[in-house]
């Protein structure tokens, strides 16, 4: 049980936390959503997308890795931070080739859902149109690098959960890309399989099972049912209850 005496200030609320808990986890447990893309609360945090940045005592930190400290003053829902999150999300859109209407993940995609929820009307910046490769070599899995946001989740999950190390990131800046650990560099020659958690937890339409088609009709898709923030907080609290309940 959280020690009810230990709290910090998040925007205009007192948020309780357990020793060692991150600001992100404490906020979500209290029902306060902090936008995030590279983080999935089911797995270890990474603090690379910077969407979850908050201001702690005047300085920016990634809330997904920053431990909560009693009495600290944290700001998250400010106009400046909202602008910054919008900008970061728009950059992700222009750095890849995201064609939401034609994407199977549409309606289930966290990038798209984040954009909607942050009120992003368009990409704003000039598209990069990078040339990236699709790896469809595996009979059951497709890696569409056009849609990869380089969140690194597949890398981390494959290593720590699947215990396989199928994925890695190479290159710098706009040339950064996901590579597959196999002699040919192709999925088909790797140890990946269709039940790998790494494959099932890509937040966007980059790493997916094949032949998923558009089998979930409008209205029934993940983010037709609930806002990303609501869905995310609800999942978080359910997982928390399982772990600590």
């Amino acid at each position: 049980m959280p020690d009810s005496k230990k709290t910090f200030q998040l925007d205009d609320r007192e948020v309780p936390f357990r020793e060692g808990q991150t600001i992100f986890d404490a906020a979500m447990a209290a029902g306060i959503f902090i936008p995030h893309l590279c983080h999935n609360p089911d797995f270890e945090p990474h603090s690379s997308c910077r969407l979850c940045t908050v201001i702690v005592n005047g300085r920016p930190f990634a809330s997904c890795t920053q431990p909560a400290v009693a009495g600290q003053m944290v700001q998250s829902n400010t106009p400046e931070l909202r602008d910054m999150r919008r900008m970061l999300t728009q950059m992700l859109f222009v750095e890849g080739n995201h064609n939401c209407p034609g994407c199977i993940k549409s309606g289930h995609c966290r990038l798209q859902a984040t954009a909607y929820e942050l009120g992003i009307p368009d990409n704003h910046y000039q598209q990069f149109f990078p040339l990236r490769e699709v790896d469809a070599s595996h009979p059951g899995i497709i890696l569409d690098r056009d849609r990869c946001i380089l969140c690194g989740l597949c890398v981390r999950i494959s290593r720590s959960v699947d215990k396989k190390n199928v994925f890695a990131m190479t290159g710098r800046g706009i040339d950064t890309t996901i590579v597959v650990d196999s002699p040919s560099g192709l999925l088909v020659d790797s140890t990946v399989s269709v039940d790998d958690q790494a494959v099932l937890n890509c937040p966007v339409g980059a790493l997916m099972l094949k032949r998923m088609a558009f089998d979930v009709p409008f209205g029934d898709r993940t983010y037709d049912q609930a806002l990303y923030s609501e869905d995310s907080v609800a999942r978080f609290q359910a997982t928390e209850a399982n772990r600590h309940g």
Binding site: N99, G102, C103, A136, S137, K210, F214, V216, P217
Partner: protein, 496 residues
């Protein structure tokens, strides 16, 4: 076929002006009229900027995305592309025969699309010309004019279209760019309440469609223009059921010549490219399909409502079939060659689609839950539907990794390409007075093109009302007259 079309003794001596690949104003229809030494119209060329990025866009994508990706080709007929691509993809997953529910839901979706598209075309685009005459004032020749003069008619037109859109929405989840078709079937059952809602409205829709047919018939039969305006013999092609009945969703290909004689019949549509080929011409990106056995010169044909009523033996619903008989009787029982008869034919099809909707809604299968099937994997798929504007082919080849390596589409507007040129030529030859273009002539040309309901959007990937530019070119190759009609209907000399 017309002796004047592209058959001047030596077309090269017709010294045409070189047309730039059109002013890059997308969706801009441009017409060049070429005169001979006597100042008669020898050729007409309709230039449309074709959207050519499509193959690139689809290549390298996994096949299961295709039915949704192709909807982006067109904001006007996305449902037709969704269905045609869906049928092609069914073949890839070996779904030779869909479940009864999936097939009927697709047919219902298609019929909804026919109603909405035909209603839109007739009431919004065509009826102002037909009601008020091609030469009437510009300000009147639009839907607002129709609402003023015929409020009841305009109201029903709007509601007919809306009904069709509702059918689409119930099945795909959205009025435009919904998603319903998945490889081997459909993604959603129809709810009982949606079925009941559509069922309640259909009686009125059939009634209004009958009234619309009566109007279409009256306008055609009472107008002196009908028998003279762009009337020319041609071949016709369309999809029919194997028993010869009209079928807009599935069947075999049939083509007839101008006398009504069968050119081919019972053709498996997946083998279409043995019977149809596409010719490329130097002055346009649009291709010119032709019937292989007749050759490039003679083999062009028309598709769409007029063609379908000319090739089918009958319509499978009683009210529409009675109208079809009247339609064919008006042509002396033979083939109807009048371009303006497209409108009348379109309305008969709207009635037919409305009757089909009623039948499908009463079929218990429509509420079934068995939606998807599959079979042995294939690497090539062809899908065809009779879209509102005519036959629509989608053809894909995929590799062993499920990615599209080749895509080929033939849209209705492309099938009708030569026919539209011929219509313009015929109208210009008749109504061109001297060497000056007039607003009246421009209007007539526009009416001739519009009869085909060309989807410039499909062909060019642009939306909106068609701006039109017409140029008159003499035998010496000089532009002697030019007029531009903007999307607002305003006519200028095109100089700014």
């Amino acid at each position: 076929m017309s002796p004047f079309l592209e058959t001047a003794a030596n077309p090269r001596s017709l010294r045409r002006v070189v047309i730039e690949p059109v002013t890059r104003v997308e969706g801009h229809g441009k017409v060049t009229l070429l005169l001979d030494d006597e100042g008669r119209v020898r050729q007409a060329r309709l230039h449309i900027v074709e959207f050519r990025g499509f193959e690139k866009f689809i290549q390298g994508r996994p096949y299961w995305e295709v039915p949704v990706l192709v909807q982006r080709l067109c904001g006007i007929c996305p449902v037709s592309h969704h269905l045609a691509a869906g049928k092609a993809v069914d073949m890839l997953v070996g779904a030779r025969r869909l479940t009864p529910t999936a097939e009927k839901l697709r047919r219902l979706l298609h019929a909804g699309q026919i109603v909405q598209s035909h209603a839109l075309h007739f009431f919004h685009l065509a009826s102002p010309d037909l009601l008020f005459g091609f030469d009437s004032e510009r300000d009147r020749r639009n839907i607002v004019g129709v609402i003023g003069a015929e409020p009841e008619l305009a109201r029903k037109g709007v509601l007919l279209r809306k009904y069709g859109q509702e059918v689409i929405r119930h099945i795909t989840g959205k009025r435009v760019h919904g998603k319903a078709v998945v490889p081997g079937g459909m993604n959603k059952e129809l709810t009982q309440s949606a079925r009941d809602e559509m069922r309640r409205g259909i009686g009125e829709i059939i009634g209004w469609s009958r009234e619309a047919v009566a109007i279409g018939r009256r306008l055609f039969e009472s107008s002196e223009q009908s028998a003279q305006f762009a009337v020319f013999p041609s071949n016709y092609m369309g999809l029919v059921a194997p028993n010869g009945e009209s079928d807009l969703y599935d069947g075999v290909l049939r083509a007839k010549d101008a006398a009504g004689k069968i050119i081919f019949d019972q053709v498996d549509y997946t083998k279409y490219n043995r019977f149809l080929r596409e010719e490329v011409k130097p002055w346009t990106y649009m291709k010119f399909p032709f019937i292989v056995s007749l050759g490039e010169e003679e083999g062009w044909y028309r598709v769409g409502p007029l063609a379908r009523l000319n090739v089918a033996d009958r319509l499978g619903t009683p009210l529409a079939e009675a109208e079809r008989q009247a339609f064919r009787a008006a042509a002396g029982g033979g083939m109807q060659h009048a371009t303006l008869a497209y409108h009348w034919a379109r309305l008969i099809e709207m009635l037919h689609a409305a009757e089909r909707i009623e039948r499908l809604l009463d079929d218990p299968d429509i509420l079934g839950a068995d939606l998807v099937t599959s079979g042995e994997r294939a690497f090539e798929g062809v899908g065809v539907v009779e879209a509102p504007r005519g036959t629509l082919f989608h053809h894909y080849k995929v590799d062993e990794n499920d990615l599209v390596v080749r895509a080929n589409l033939i849209v209705s507007t492309t099938h009708n390409n030569q026919a539209m040129n011929e219509s313009v030529r015929s109208v210009a030859a008749r109504y061109l007075d001297g060497k000056e273009l007039t607003e009246g002539l421009l209007n007539h040309i526009e009416v001739a093109i519009r009869a085909y309901d060309p989807c410039l959007s499909c062909a060019t990937h642009a939306l909106g009302r068609m701006p039109l530019q017409v140029e008159l070119v003499d035998a010496g190759g000089s532009v002697i007259s030019r007029m531009v009609k903007g999307s607002d209907g305003r006519v200028t000399d095109g100089e700014g």
